[in-house]
Symmetry: C2
Subunit: 217 residues, 2 copies
């Protein structure tokens, strides 16, 4: 019979994720973690095997939650393209000082991990590719629904969508003004919605955005 652990694993992972996300892997010390988790080094190493393993656990959790949030936003039925566009707009609505006004932890880790820290690098890349697969599946569904042209390339669209999202979150991280961030997100979102092909002569004609003066960048 195991004794119930007096520490709350979920809260500990929350605190560790917040710390790692904000400061990155290298700049976060065990002292920081001890303070944030309210645990002594021995407990941390009993619960999680090492600093690296703890980081990877946080990253996995973060990625899983990101994926679930995406699916929740895309799975409400209705237009896939509209949902994808709204997902971009969502990321511009974060309050500037908030925890979400930060670049994606997966991307941060990809850029921070050195080649010899292979587990961090491989983990981050795997999660990045998994998100890409989510986006590709969404575009495939859009194509199946007739929102996209039959010869549309979901893989390329997914790459471009992820690029837009990545850059948008870098812009938020930079501290861009809320209105500039919203304008950029809106511009990228309209780009997605402009992919829609007219399904019939009547119903979705309004969804076809008019050719604007600056449609791209």
């Amino acid at each position: 019979m195991r004794r119930a652990p007096p520490y709350d694993r979920d809260k500990a992972l929350d605190a560790a994720t917040e710390l790692f996300w904000r400061k990155g892997y290298h700049a976060t010390s065990l002292k920081d973690l001890e303070a944030a988790l309210g645990m002594k080094p021995g407990s941390i190493y009993a619960a999680f095997k090492s600093k690296e393993a703890l980081f990877l656990a946080c990253l996995d959790r973060y990625a899983r939650r990101s994926r679930e949030a995406l699916r929740a936003q895309l799975g409400r039925g209705g237009s896939m393209l509209a949902a994808l566009a709204d997902h971009l707009r969502t990321h511009a609505r974060q309050n500037p000082g908030g925890a979400e006004a930060r670049a994606c932890m997966i991307v941060k880790t990809m850029l921070e991990a050195t080649p010899d820290e292979s587990r961090l690098a491989a983990g981050a890349r795997a999660h990045f590719e998994q998100m890409r697969a989510e986006f590709a599946a969404a575009f495939e569904r859009a194509r199946a629904m007739g929102e996209l042209a039959p010869d549309a390339d979901p893989a390329l669209l997914a790459a471009r969508y992820q690029a837009a999202l990545t850059a948008l979150r870098v812009e938020a991280h930079r501290g861009a003004a809320a209105d500039e961030l919203a304008a950029l997100a809106e511009s990228l979102a309209q780009e997605v919605e402009r992919l829609r092909v007219a399904p019939g002569p009547a119903r979705a004609a309004a969804a076809e955005a008019p050719r604007a003066a600056q449609p791209a960048g």
Copy 2:
């Protein structure tokens, strides 16, 4: 009369930049720098005042060279939009193992710097904004040349262009296959060229890209 320093400041900065760019600020130790620069700690601290100051010197140099490379590519006369598009394509042509197949050092630093490392964060942001100003100036020139519609928004276009470039370099950093990277770059480049407005009824009609099946993402 000062004695000429026996160390080559330019080569030292080259080596330090390579190291910082690859490993980031925190993961680069003084031991690493000693080995790469061929200098003992005392010399490093005499030549550059601290690890942080050395990093900032490298970052300044990197940003200045990036700016100069951009100006060289955009200043050859001819179409600004074509030059901007080609600049994107250039970044996809880097050989995969090469030193350039890495995310932008400015962006890496923006994402790595913690809020309390204010000099690193501020320096990276300043350089990022300076690059944005370069892009905005290029789009303004394009508008003045009649390549863009008179009501085009250079600031927004610059933000979108920088977003595309940032994401493209993240994709290269990730280790994307050369053909996928080229496809993404080509897609983004065409997006830029599609901004062109027909200048006259005849001459530049061919430059107006035909409306493709998947123009955006």
